[in-house]
Amino acid sequence: MFHYIGPIAHGIGSTLTITFAAYAIGLVLGIPIVVARSSRLRVVRLLAISFVEIFRGIPGIAWLFILYYGLAQLDVQISSMTAAICGLGLIAAAYMAEIYRAGLRAVPHGQFEAARALGMGTVQVYRSIVGPQAFVTSFPPAATYVIGLLKESAVASVIGAQEITGVALGQQQEASTQGLSVFLAASAVYLALSLPLAGIARYADVWLARRVAGAEAA
């Protein structure tokens, strides 16, 4: 098993790239979606809800197939890495929007009222008062999600991305009989990545709850 770890480690870069680039898309794109969900316009609300439900409902593997080969049909050529990042990024946005929404709902109504009573406009209320509090509540589920996304990035192998699972599949075909060892090695590499990530998340959570929200200050 151990001699597979070397080759498989070559996939680490791609796995991390897909994971964090998709996550970044999700973190950013999740914000307009959660804002759209509470829009005064019904059409906008419906669009946001549809987005969330569609991208939470379609399995990543199917969605990447559709995106990659669908675009190819339209003569749009993108690399499998780009397709994986964008495809998983949209799914991440749907999940992050829901995580943000839960975070916002956890902020007591009195906070909105106190901020409005001080003459703050909607944008100020969210940016200075509600946002920072929602962010702290959103952090633990968001950190859990990034670990899930690390594993989910394995689906990029179906469109040929050479990330950990993609490399492992190649190794398995070469070796033909040694499937078990290859995937034990791949699993060990995934664990080696997700365990420190979980550790960092736990540390950041404690640190955040104590500091960051307050440091945003006046």
């Binding site: 409005r116 009573a117 001080l118 003459g119 200075s128 008062i129 200050a217």
Partner: protein, 290 residues
Amino acid sequence: MESLDDSPAAPSAPADAATGAPVVSGPLVAEAAAMASAAGIPRVQVEQLGMRFGTHDAVIGVDLEVAVGEVVAVIGPSGSGRSTMLRCINHLESPTSGRVLIDGTAIADPGGREPGPRELAALRRQVGMVFQSFNLFPHLTAIENVMIAQVKVLGRTKAEARTRAMQLLERVGIAEKADSRPRRCSGGQQQRIAIARALALEPKLMLFDEPTSALDPELGLEVLAVMRELAKEGMTMIVVTHEMHFAEDVADRVIFMADGRIVEEGTAQQVIRHPREERTRKFLRAVLDR
């Protein structure tokens, strides 16, 4: 901070206001009062205010005028519409009928022209509000709580805001807690921070929604002491409260509400000591004779 030297604390002051003689208080307050009384515009006018939640009428046809510098206590059973009425005055609730005017400008006017979001925010800046549950911002320290609206709403620099916030915290007696988070403060301290936060925008009017109801009796006293000071300095205040002693000592006028209506109003002496209405008597027996 100007304090009174020659004007008696409370109940006799409105008599002066009623006769049109300017009440002498601190220089700034006196000036403001003189200007407003010259213009003849009350600080707050509530006209035929109605608030309906679904099929329930929380407030029915309430008329109320509050003069500049006047302190009005609103007493009555919980659920009588007192808080709802108060919340309509700074438009935290949108009334379903009637009008609310601050210095003659409509802040709520469902039948006519309602202020837009910007205008509403500008009007709210002139009205400070103190909540039963304090609603301090937990992610900010005490002083940041008092600074934030100054910076974000008034556009003051952080340095200016900090100086002003520190003065206010000193004034409400909790300068030593300036750098503490709200959760590290007692309820009484939190409510005093909340008062400082509201005062930071230099409001023309302060609304208090059961400011001591969530507090231990002793901690409530700290808060009431700050409110007494404010009243003495000539702040216009509407106080929804169950604190009868405070109402008697501080309020120029007491209003008794029940079932969404004003049942009785007058001086504290009249309403609390010599109520005319049976409904008022029943309530006061429950409060005073326990």
